[in-house]
């Protein structure tokens, strides 16, 4: 079985500055890491590999330094890595990103299953996974929290809906995006770091793709334009109380009654 995992390099902290002109994140000179949800995707692939024989290919789209996350994937057990990189891909929105990735995936080994993290922590859209599947014309299931069964023909998964859990059996090839609770990701291995130090990362550039129309990629291929980016506001208010158990008990009781969270009897 061949499994393709999509991964992304994201800022290492949430304190990122935004380019006022383009609305894009300023990524130069800041610490980076692999998108945390992608770690769950790699771990899911590794668990399948442990129980069935499988080859794991990872792909990332980004600037040349995004090679770091592919090397990190090698340190977690991935077999091959591809970096989709070209200036023509820069400034891509969700649609153009998904399209470029789907084109890139077609240039890799055949796949039986594609796994993505549920979302990225810098974009937060949770749309790239399903859109890749649409471009590839394969079925997809988002928010997968458990794999119940996988065989050469199909995969059965639990999909986490806001109020229910849906069990789906899907024919392969297909794409799934995974939730946090699917598996605790393993840590990168120093032994694998030594063993894969010379393993190459395959670059895929614009000229390697089937679609040679530059207008379908990057900023040109992006129907959405970012007008403004700002941190979400929160109406959450924290209060810290100190006192004895009795005092605190009375106080919280009064507060809950005042907020009408409990009935005032």
């Amino acid at each position: 079985m061949n499994i393709t995992v999509c991964i992304k390099q994201v800022p290492g902290t949430s304190e990122v500055e935004i380019d006022e002109k383009t609305g894009n994140l300023i990524r130069e000179g800041i610490d980076t890491k692999m998108n945390p949800y992608d770690l769950y995707a790699i771990e899911t692939a590794m668990k399948i590999k442990e129980n069935n024989s499988a080859k794991i290919n990872v792909i990332s789209m980004g600037p040349p330094q995004a090679v770091e996350v592919i090397q990190e994937a090698y340190m977690m057990g991935a077999d091959n890595g591809y970096l989709l990189t070209d200036k023509k891909f820069a400034g891509a929105d969700v649609l153009a990103t998904s399209y470029a990735l789907s084109q890139g995936i077609n240039k890799m080994d055949n796949y039986n299953l594609i796994i993505c993290g549920k979302m990225t922590t810098d974009g937060d859209t949770a749309q790239v996974g399903p859109e890749i599947a649409e471009f590839l014309n394969i079925p997809h299931v988002a928010n997968v929290k458990k794999i119940i069964d996988i065989n050469s023909n199909s995969i059965t998964v639990e999909m986490d809906m806001p109020k229910t859990v849906e069990i789906q059996e899907v024919k392969l090839p297909c794409l799934i995006t995974v939730e946090k609770e699917i598996h605790q990701p393993r840590l990168p291995s120093f032994k694998l770091k030594l063993a894969t130090a010379k393993r190459k990362v395959n670059n895929i550039t614009f000229k390697d793709l089937d679609d040679s129309n530059p207008e379908n990629f990057g900023l040109d291929g992006s129907p959405t334009q970012v007008l403004d980016v700002f941190p979400p506001t929160s109406d959450r208010v924290n209060e810290r109380w100190k006192g004895t158990g009795k005092e605190l008990g009375e106080r919280i009781s009064k507060k809950l009654k005042k907020l009408k969270f409990v009935k005032d009897n």
Partner: protein, 467 residues
Amino acid sequence: MTKNKFHKINTKDIISLESICRKENIISGKNIHEDYSHDELAEEEIFPEVLAIPENTEQISKIMKYAYENNIPVTPRGQGTGLVGAAVPIYGGILISTEKMTKIIDLDKDNLTLTVEPGVLLMEISKFVEENDFLYPPDPGEKSATIGGNISTNAGGMRAVKYGVTRDSIRELEVVLPNGKIINTGGKIVKDSSGYSIKDLIIGSEGTLGIVTKAVLKLIPLPKISISLLVPFPDMETAIETVPKIIRSKNSPVAIEYMERAVIKNSEDYLGKKFPDSSSDAYLLLNFDGNTKEEVEKQYEKVAHICLDAGALDVLISDTEERKESIWTARGAFLEAIKASTTKMDECDVVVPRDKVAEFIKYTKFVEKEAGIRISSFGHAGDGNLHVYLLKDEMTEKAFQNKLTKAFDLLYSKGEELGGHVSGEHGIGYAKRKYLEKTMGTDYMNLLRGIKNVFDQKGILNPGKVC
């Protein structure tokens, strides 16, 4: 010292105390909550006659003066997270809780110090200073302990390998003496050769010499980068024997902890959260810090090679907040997790020279069989301080006590034989007094008692503790 010697508290005393503190901060008799009758590892519940919750140094000073004049025993208490009964009022009397003295008074960026009241929690200190790009170097596992409690036991924690223990990070103390007088010892000074260091005597004295009412803590600039290594080994012996090799290599990890699979499993059950690796029976957990990724990587790569050469199965790298959290949350919960895995437990907090850790751990396996009691352990392999827990499980209380005595005798004798001491960081309290006496000898104990007598001729402050 006998109980009869002390004055029993009466209504007149309570009225007097109420004239010192606000009335609602003087609680007596049955109104005292059960929490104040024990600490984290209570053998039994002993209630004070009066609980006083003062709000400032002057109130503590007046309470002490009154207690001194009237021969009333006084026990100071932080959050009660101690493990040896130091904050348990075994002679009744007044229990002074510092829970309302929680101000962070001053961050001095020129002298790199933080001035705090004794009731500030460790977690509040670390949060506050780290937001200001500083680090308070000690890192005891119990984050809900107060700084006053940490000073009283000279708490150590996980960063001791590189940054030392609480004593190394205290610049100045304001202390109320048993007779109510207030003294300052130390200062916002880096060097001090001005006579005996009273400050260093107070630190670790478990509230027997004076009550700390203000502390000036030493800060260092916050290292920008921190990376942990989780190193699985085929067995505990190979793991521990690697530690001296790491120390000899002159690389300086911030922490070197050891942990066993059984304890990790306890922690997974307790937290309901998986640990990132479960392939092995024994692990070392190392932490490195520095200001650039390159600098830290250079350090840890050397140590990673040492571990692999010594027989480690792999070296797993934890370099992001999420990864560190998955490991250190589990590590931080070990004590509570072991506690939740049994019905009752007692602990041995012995410290041995670092090159004797392997021998001591091996010996705990022998004691487990010899005394017939389940033992769980984890600890600070890098500084020789081990936490060995003796678990009651389904035993009767009597059987447990018998086995405890036998196991403790064996463990503390071995600790002494290896050049170690009774307590690395939890203190003596009343629970470990006999082992201190046994291992330190009469001459040494007489010196301690002599010091106690200079501070507290009437023996009213935290009687029955340490010496």
